[in-house]
Symmetry: C2
Subunit: 193 residues, 2 copies
Amino acid sequence: MVESKPRGRPRSARAQEAIISATLAVLVETGFAGLTIEAVASRAGVGRPTIYRRWATKEDLVVDALAATVPVASTVDTGDLAADIAETVRAAINGLGGSEVGGVVVGVLAAAAANPVLASALAERYLAPRLGVVSELVARGVAAGVLRSDLSPEVMRDLLIGPLVYHWLVTGSPMSEPNTTALFTAILSTLRT
Amino acid sequence: MVESKPRGRPRSARAQEAIISATLAVLVETGFAGLTIEAVASRAGVGRPTIYRRWATKEDLVVDALAATVPVASTVDTGDLAADIAETVRAAINGLGGSEVGGVVVGVLAAAAANPVLASALAERYLAPRLGVVSELVARGVAAGVLRSDLSPEVMRDLLIGPLVYHWLVTGSPMSEPNTTALFTAILSTLRT
């Protein structure tokens, strides 16, 4: 410790940023299974207690690091609700797809298959707000009579988001713009009333 | 070494099975980044040279372990090509989804985002034969005039497979049978001519 005066907000905010960014860097290198609080602390240049003061477990830390890094999509409003849904999904997924952060997100989702604590923290604090944006748009579309009401909102969400995520997962790159446009034209033709 | 006589086929086949199964177990525990040939050798009860004799790198070993574990889908033939495609995809993805092996496959795909050598081995030896089954069915459907010819085969593949993989990735479980049926009814209505 260089200083003994009480930590101000700016200083703890800087430490927090350093910890979040170190967490992502360690995830890229070692994946979720290999990540230790020790490695994050060392890379962030903080002591382990600084991390434990805020995050009780590595699951907590990793989920907060993803949530702090991947923004919740802002919805677009062109007056055409079905097109807005497509555009919101395209911007969110193709922005993440192929990036290092995108690979980290999918890696952590995969690790959750063997870790129920991680799965539940991810579902609650990472996925719920992000998928909620799409679910809300879909619900609005159904309520407005623009989208079919005979498909469950969950199926519509998987149909809208899944192909783009899958494309990126198996090819390593976001789907091209022309193919994304053709894809959403096809999906919307079946989702519209 | 207990015996000095030349190794017969059965013995090397047993060693290979032990190595493949140890590779999967280590992947579940440590993920791709944490896997070492040392750890696989120790768990399989073989020496490291036994592994290196056949697999030059851990990328090679991991891709072969996945390929040996996840069967290439056998196609169904009900006389209705569009329905056959849906059924083939459903059986392959929902069989894998939610299983430990499914989590391992997605974890390795995610690791490939930061590892071009892994990405290329996966694409060539794991993904190509498995996605090829779906691509071939789609190509047959287009040639037979059953499926639209104005969407690229790659987009159709992503549309058919993506929602099921994504559902499993964000929920940890395969999509329910009724929802899968509703999903494929919707997808096929837009893919059929």
